[in-house]
């Protein structure tokens, strides 16, 4: 009895094992088959697109090819092709793809209950969308999943609507430093809309995080019309605002910026002084040589370092000042001057470019 039962169990197990092996085999075969089919479809879409771009195929033929294959095949092709091609050639293709039913499916995916479909839609819309998809982009920017929101942010580069920019601005003001930096770069690409938006925000915004974001963006685009708007904030009561203003002024080489920064170099707080010292170097303020020489004797190591680097950045005149600091003067100033003079050009360059971005990141973290 027990032997028969054991034999039965062994037989059943054997059967299950065989079934499992068959299933694995069939699964693999299906995977390879589908992969090959998708690859062929992708190639077909690729050929059709290349032919169309070269003028060898009609728009109708292109649309038919895109619509006849699987959704994934066309999506894969457009993702890889879009990563390699840009400019007017891509724009022509994108305009044609927007006429396909494949694109309408893509737009439907943007409101799918599955987050990965929404993510895929956001990524493709960032390469294909036009102003007709503003509402879809707004919905994706408000998605509960952060990766979908970040992917949707890229759409703003193609659809520079004020509404979308405002939404993205709010998102950037409330997020961490790394994502924020990326989002601000995207915003800065639409100068005309942003300029108008920043002038309004800088006049009315009272939220500190949002206000410092506006100042940072003003610094990123460096549009001259923003200079008179941001200059008064160099004397703001809020330390973070003064620091953000000092940093923003590094993009406005102008005598008035120089004067404001020299004043900030006498600020009670070391961080404001340090950023002002860097910004004076960035705008190449030759008239600030004496003030920067004075910064070498600042009680804060950071202010001394940035003052010395700025003198070095100002060129031969600044280097002469650094070389003239002797050991008989302030010993801290002498140490800093010799340290910075010993740095290679590459090291100074890296310090200058990194300090701008790291300052901005630190300020964003503090404001958040």
């Amino acid at each position: 009895m027990s032997t028969a039962l054991l034999a039965l169990i062994a037989l059943v197990q054997g059967a299950f094992l065989m079934m499992l092996l068959v299933l694995v085999g069939v699964g693999r075969w299906l995977g390879v088959y589908r992969g090959r089919r998708r690859c062929k479809q992708r190639e077909r879409v690729g050929h059709a697109a290349q032919n169309w771009l070269a003028g060898g195929a009609s728009s109708k033929a292109l649309r038919r090819t895109v619509d006849s294959g699987s959704f994934a095949a066309a999506a894969e092709f457009l993702t890889t092709f879009g990563a390699r091609r840009g400019g007017d050639e891509w724009e022509r293709l994108a305009a044609e793809i927007q006429q396909t039913s494949w694109f309408r499916t893509l737009c439907r995916h943007a409101s799918s209950p599955f987050w990965w479909r929404r993510l895929g839609a956001a990524r493709l819309l960032a390469k294909l969308a036009s102003s007709d998809q503003t509402a879809i982009a707004l919905a994706l920017l408000a998605d509960p999943r952060p990766p979908v929101r970040v992917a949707a942010a890229e759409i703003v580069a193609r659809v520079p609507s004020r509404e979308l920019m405002e939404e993205l601005y709010e998102f950037a003001s409330s997020t961490g430093a790394v994502v924020r930096g990326h989002l601000l770069e995207l915003l800065a690409k639409n100068r005309a809309v942003l300029e108008e938006m920043l002038i309004e925000r800088l006049a009315s915004d009272r939220d500190r995080a949002s206000f410092t974001t506006a100042l940072e963006l003003a610094g990123q685009i460096g549009v001259p019309s923003l200079l008179p708007v941001i200059l008064p904030y160099a004397e703001a009561e809020d330390l973070e605002v003064r620091i953000a203003t000092a940093r923003a002024l590094s993009s406005f080489p102008h005598p008035r910026s120089g004067a404001a920064l020299m004043k900030l170099l006498g600020d009670a707080h070391w961080e404001a002084r340090a950023v002002a010292a860097s910004s004076l170097g960035a705008i190449g303020a030759i008239e600030a040589i004496d003030t920067l020489r004075g910064a070498l004797e600042d009680p804060s190591w950071w202010v001394r370092l940035r003052g010395a680097v700025s003198l070095r950045v100002l060129g031969p005149v600044g280097i002469q000042v650094l070389e003239s600091v002797g050991p008989e003067a302030d010993s801290y100033a002498y140490d800093m001057a010799t340290y910075v003079l010993r740095l290679s050009d590459s090291a100074v360059l890296e310090f200058v470019t990194r300090s701008i971005s790291s300052d901005a990141a630190a300020a964003a973290d503090r404001a958040a």
Binding site: R84, R85, D88, S251, H254, E287, S346, T353, I356
Partner: protein
């Protein structure tokens, strides 16, 4: 040599013809060294540069950069930012430090040009940072411009160009260029900058020619540009409208210098493209024009480069990048030729 042309380039064609008839009897060939491990990009570069008869040399790494430079002796280096085993910015700085290769044209290509990288690349001495996705047409236009300008630097080609220019300008203008003082109707140079102790070896000191001529109608931007450039020890002169700019540039006695012109596109009276075309028509290869504009399209960019601009900057201008580019160009122009 066959160069496909697009847009209003008849003046360039004429210039090319003049160069083709140069006594050397040999077309100049541009040798390009490309450091990139992206196979797909190879097709784009080959298609873009092959049509200009460029000789392409490929390396997948920058570890033996100087060996590759010695072997290939290129006149142009294309560096990928995404090279797997190298620090391309360090490679660029090493090239700039090397006396032999410091004047080499170096272009960066990158998948995603971000502002921090661009700034660092230009401050390190890059001539251009190109977006890999749209660099084919741009590269082609840049190489074409390089060939035309390069030919003008050849003594034989220069003689040939002189014939073309004299015919186009007439004897009065020739006489004006040969004279020692600027025309009386031109305003005095605004270049009274506080120069650094060791100024750039620019043309200004010897000839009274400014390093940079700015044509910009926005007074606040003009003020910023002048401040930024003067603080780097560069002399400047400004025009605020298209008509006076064209008149001034057509008559300015530059002698052997090649002043950099920062030319806005949207100007009252006459737009920047028209000015550039006129300059290329009547004074080819005299000025090094950098167009500054809010128009960001690839077609406008390629048209500008094909018309004769050395660079194309889109607004909002990033001042540190702009100053680095202009300074590098002025230095390159004032450096002694090998």
């Amino acid at each position: 040599m066959e160069i496909p042309l697009k847009g209003p380039v008849s003046h360039s064609e004429r210039q090319e013809d003049a160069v083709e008839q140069a006594p050397t009897g040999r077309a100049r060939c541009v040798r390009v060294l490309v450091l990139d491990d992206d196979i797909g990009y190879r097709e784009i570069v080959t298609a873009a540069l092959g049509r200009h008869g460029a000789e392409l040399h490929w390396r997948g790494t920058a570890t033996e950069l100087f060996l590759a430079l010695e072997e290939t002796e290129p006149s142009m280096l294309i560096l990928s930012r995404e090279l797997a085993d190298s620090h391309p910015l360090e490679a660029l700085r090493a090239v700039r430090r090397s006396p032999r290769w410091s004047q080499l044209s170096v272009y960066f290509v990158t998948d995603e040009p971000d502002t921090e990288f661009e700034l660092e690349a230009y401050l390190s001495g890059a001539d251009a940072v190109l977006d890999r996705r749209r660099s084919g047409a741009e590269l082609s236009a840049r190489v074409r411009g390089y060939l035309l300008r390069g030919k003008a630097d050849d003594p034989a080609a220069e003689r040939s160009n002189q014939v073309t220019r004299t015919a186009a300008r007439g004897p009065e203008q020739e006489a004006s260029e040969a004279g020692a003082s600027p025309p009386p109707d031109l305003p005095q140079l605004a270049g009274t900058a506080p120069r650094p102790a060791e100024p750039l070896a620019s043309a200004e000191g010897a000839t009274g020619v400014p390093d940079v001529i700015i044509v910009e109608d926005d007074p606040s931007l003009l003020e910023m540009l002048e401040y930024a450039l003067k603080n780097r020890g560069l002399t400047t002169h400004s025009f605020t409208d298209g008509v006076s700019a064209l008149q001034g540039l057509r008559e300015w006695p530059v002698r052997n210098a090649h002043p950099v012109v920062l030319l806005d596109v949207d100007l009252p009276g006459m737009d920047g493209f028209q000015i550039l075309q006129q300059l290329e028509e009547f004074r080819p290869n005299v000025f090094r024009v950098m167009l500054c504009t809010i128009h960001n399209s690839e077609a406008a960019q390629v048209l500008a480069l094909q018309t004769g601009a050395v660079d194309y900057l889109t607004k909002p201008l990033r001042m540190p990048v702009l100053v680095a580019k202009v300074e590098r160009l002025v230095r390159a122009l004032s450096a002694p030729k090998n």
